[in-house]
Every structure is written in C-alpha cells, then in structure tokens.
Symmetry: C2
Subunit: 340 residues, 2 copies
C-alpha cells in the first residue's frame, strides 16, 4: 500500500532512492557500490554521481544483517573508565592504518556491573555488526561467540580466546616489596573488583610478598575497592577507620589509590608521611595526583595495539591463540616513604 516517493520517511537516503534517481534498479546500485563487475562503465559512472550527489552511505545495520563482513571491529567494555580509555588509544592508533573502523560498546552502563555483560553485548552486536571483538576486562572465562575474539586483562580459563594482559603477579609483588623495603610492617591491601581475575592475582602477589617477608596480615588489612571512586570509597574508609591502621597500602588500581588518598586527607592523614600508597595501572591521573602516585605501570597503549595485531591476524585466518603477557614496572613517585 505504501507507494513511496522520494526519501520521505526517515530522511535517510537509501539505496532505493539512489536507484530511482539514477533510473536503474537497486541491484545495479548495489553492484556498483560493491565494485562488482558486469556493469557498463557509463551506468557505473552515472550511479556513482548520484551516490555522491545524494550523499548516500550504506547502512551498517542493513548491510550487516545481510552480509558477514562489515570492516568494523568492536571493542566491548563495561564502562568508560580510565583503564579502558587508555587501551582505546592504543587500539585506535593501531587501527588507523587499516581498513577497519572501530565501534565501542559499553554494555554495563545501563544495567550496572552485571557479571556476564560481555555475552549480552556480544549477542546484541550479534550477527555481524562487527567482524571481531576486543573484550576489555571480561568477567567470563570463555564468552561464546562466533567471531574472532581477543580479551584484554582476561578472566583466565581453558579454551578461552586469545588474551593479552600485564604481569599482575610480579607487579603486585614489586609494589608490596617496595613498601616493605621502605620499612613498613603494617601493609594493607585495597582489593580490586571481585569479578576480575587480575584483582585476585594482585591480591595473591600481595599475600605472597607479605608471607615471604614474614609479615602478618590481620583481616582488617584487606578490604575491597573497585574501579570507580564510589566503589572504592567504602573499602578505603574501612581500611583507615580500623582499630589498627596500616601505615602503607597497596591498592589494586589507581582509581582506588587516588580515592584512598582523598579519604586519608579527609581524615587529616598526610600522604606519604602517615600513609604510603601504591597503585596499579599508571593511568594519566596517577602522575598528576597530589602527591604523585607511586604505581605499577601497565603498558596500556601497547596492550591495546597488541590486541589489534592479534585480531587482525585472526581475521586473516592465521591461527593466533596467543596468550601474551606484557611486563609491568614499578614507578616510584611521591606517595610512598618510610614510616614515620
């Protein structure tokens, strides 16, 4: 019933509009656009002209419903926190000389930190909106997907996708040992998100270092933070308001560490004189925190670039199930000092 006439409805130019304007069928337009041969040069030129004139651009939606290739790589994150953002820069840089565009989907903003957000996102982007996906801090060991997958800071597990991570264990040990070597004996730990494998590994590194030094870990010395300031707040408060307060804390990530500095200041504690703090990640804000944060640097840009390389190899059919681990490095700045 709906006899169409012109762009009309949505305002978007469709392949049909182009076909009508050029006086050919949609199939012809499709062929021209996709560079298929078997089209008269004159026709092709005329169609291209109309395409330009009308500013036609194929709809990713319709295309991906029909085809299996979109030249778009998806990056799936839970949220846009500094860690993911740094990674994104590396990913974007590495992709800038390729034919691929990037689409980043934040799957947990509207539903909270729902464990398993990656499967939800993967399903929603479904069929083939994206040709491959890079998962940032997934909470599942082996998300189900039918497209090439690389996980950054993964949930380890067998049979999972290719993974890229930093050396969390060494980093955590280095951080804790730094504190111990400064002379601290009451060293606490502000844990990361429980659903992150890397958070557990870092806690293990902390515990190992403490154990090796023969130092005790009272239960109140370990509390849980998160990767948002809000989440970190209660853990930070618990740590500092405990009966016996640690003189140094290793926080599982910089966001928590910075929140801890804030809470310490709120309580009149000086950092590092009264409390030494080490973070993890080395996000941009770490260096400009006050005091500048001692932290364990993860090569985030490089990790992002490595993920892109792996994904592209997979897309080219090479069987890359590499599990790459990049080194971490302690960066000593102003938030750590010997105990008073």
């Amino acid at each position: 019933m709906s006899i169409t006439a012109g762009p009309a409805k949505t305002g978007r130019t469709t392949i049909t509009d182009v076909a009508r304007a050029a006086g050919v069928s949609v199939a012809t337009v499709s062929k021209v656009i996709n560079g298929r041969d078997g089209i008269a040069v004159a026709t092709s030129a005329r169609v291209m002209q109309v395409v330009d004139k009308l500013g036609y651009e194929r709809s990713l939606v319709a295309t991906s419903l029909r085809q299996s290739k979109t030249n778009v790589i998806g990056v799936l994150v839970a949220e846009f926190e500094p860690f993911a953002l740094q990674l994104l820069q590396g990913i974007s840089d590495a992709l800038s000389d390729t034919q691929y565009d990037v689409l980043v989907y934040a799957g947990a903003v509207s539903v909270g930190n729902h464990r398993g957000w990656e499967n939800r996102s993967l399903s929603r982007l479904g069929g083939t909106l994206i040709d491959a996906a890079i998962l940032v801090t997934p909470t599942l060991a082996s998300p189900d997907a039918s497209i090439p997958l690389v996980a950054i800071d993964p949930h380890t597990g067998s049979g999972g996708p290719a993974t890229i991570d930093g050396d969390n264990l060494s980093g955590a040990r280095a951080a804790t040992e730094h504190l111990i070597s400064l002379g601290h004996t009451r060293v606490g730990h502000l844990r990361g998100r429980d659903d992150l494998e890397s958070a557990h590994v870092r806690e293990r590194g902390y515990r190992e270092a403490m154990h090796d030094a023969g130092l005790p870990i009272p239960p109140t010395f370990v509390t849980t933070g998160g990767y948002r300031a809000d989440d970190a707040n209660s853990g930070a408060v618990a740590l500092l308001d405990a009966e016996v307060r640690p003189t140094a804390v290793f926080a599982a990530n910089d966001v928590s560490a910075i929140e801890l500095i804030r809470v310490a200041h709120e309580r009149g504690l000086r950092v590092p004189e009264d409390l030494s703090i080490v973070g993890f990640d080395d996000i941009p804000d770490a260096a400009s925190a006050s005091p500048a944060l001692t932290t364990v640097r993860q090569p985030l840009r490089e990790m992002g670039a490595a993920a892109v390389e792996a994904i592209i190899e997979m897309l080219q059919g090479k069987d890359t199930s590499a599990h790459m681990r990049l080194p971490t490095r302690l960066v000593v700045r102003a938030s750590t000092a010997p105990p008073a």
Copy 2:
C-alpha cells in the same frame, strides 16, 4: 558446558531458535520478550525459560531495522584522542543511571581526517541503530540527521543542532595575555586543525590579544599543528627553526603543546627558560608533562555530562536547542616563565 542445541548456522541464538525450542511461533516469543500482553502465563514462563537456557539476547541490528527505538545513544568521534576520551568519561558517568547504553563510533580512523566524517557515520549508523547522537568536534555546521543531535565543540552555523562548547575566545586571550604579561614580545601560535571552528576562534583570541598589546605577528610566528602528535610535528618544527624564533608559544591544544616541548628539547632549548609554552584543553597528560604544562582548562567531563542532559531532554520531547558555553580557565604550571 556451554549452550548446546539449535543455533547451527552462525552460532548466534536467534528468536527462531527460541521459538523452535519452546514449540511456539516467533511472534509469540517476540511478544514475550517485549512484555506485550495477551500471552498465557504458562507460555510466557516456558518461553522465558528457554530464553535463559539458550542465552538469547535480541540482536541490536535486527531490532533497530524494525523498530525506531533502541535505547542506545551514539557518540560519534573522528578518533579516540585525549580530548574525546575525557568527554567520554563525562558522558558515560552521566548515562550510568539511565536506561541508555552507549555506542561510540570512530568514523575517521580508516579513512583519514575526512571532512564530513560525521555525515558518513550518521549515515552508517543509519535508520535507528541509535536513538540520538552526540557529535564530538564535528567539521560541519549542520549535519543532516533525523535524530536528536548535540554537538560538542561544534562548527558554528545557523540552524545547527544544540551545542556545547568551552569559551575558546576568552581562553585563548587569557593564554596569550599570560605570556605577554610575563614580558614576552615574540609570541607565536601553533594553530589547531583547520577544519575545527574552535581552532579558528582560538587563533582569533591570540591575534586580538597581540593586537591589543601592540605586538606584531610576523607570518612565521603562526604555523599549523593538529590534534595528533604527528600532525603537530611539522608546525612545531617550522616555528622553532624559523629565522626569528618566538620566545613563547600559545598552542591550540595540549597534544600540540606537548609535541612542541619535545621538539624544543630535541633542539636543545629549555622550557620554559628558552621557550614558554601554553596549551589548551588540560588533558590528563598536561599535568604530567615535563615540565608540567601551563594550559587553558576546559571542563571536559562537565561538557560531556551537559551533552547527555541535553540529549535526554530532547529524547523526552522537550525542545532543547540550547547553546551552552562553559567557562575556561588558565591553569599556570611550569612551562611558562619570563623571557631569559
């Protein structure tokens, strides 16, 4: 074990798989999923169970092809540079308590800085993959779109969408005046991307301040940078290798300013002793640059949040064509000093 049975072809579970497994028609499944009423409780329960079991999630692609609402807000950027990333944090935070998910599309990574990338992206995201879009540093005054639009750091023009920007003119004047008040008379300018309106405004601010101070601007004092280090390099080099070198430079953005510091160091120039530098934006790297960069701060997180507010109001049918301008502020750090 992971999900078995059914999907076959793509590996993705579709509504058809669910229908078959539940022994009902796809229409029924659709109704259940969308909470339409007129479905027997028993049937509904059975379907839901199958949905859970199979881990079904509707495809954003197919849904958006058919419907006009996806609850996804698009953020369109040319690339993931620090400016956009900061904005993204504000946007993400502001969206975290809403029903909306975020999808960020970088439209210029695979094709270079193509003027008009926003129309291309808008077209590709087409019909209704997204309910509304936030444009970051668009290069067009009035992109055509049939969905609510807000532009951050826009190309001004009449009839355009709602816009959010920082006070570029005042900021640029403040930066230049700061340099002049320090005693500099040879003040240069490293321009921003030519396709950005804000870059022109900043240049105007610089020229006005110079004019008001009665200072000359030799042609070699103004060169062009960009928002990537590579782009900024040639402009920086030209500025420093000129016959008569400025003793101070106002760079149109922090990325350029930081690159300028690098180039200056390369030539054995000390900053700020031999060359004072002011940037613009106050991205995280500005504070941790060496020396710490004096810059004009734009409230990027707030600008992102403001964009979200505006978009949501538009989505609710309120007629918000506000043009919001947030204040900028000079932040003096270590990269500026009186001339030697």
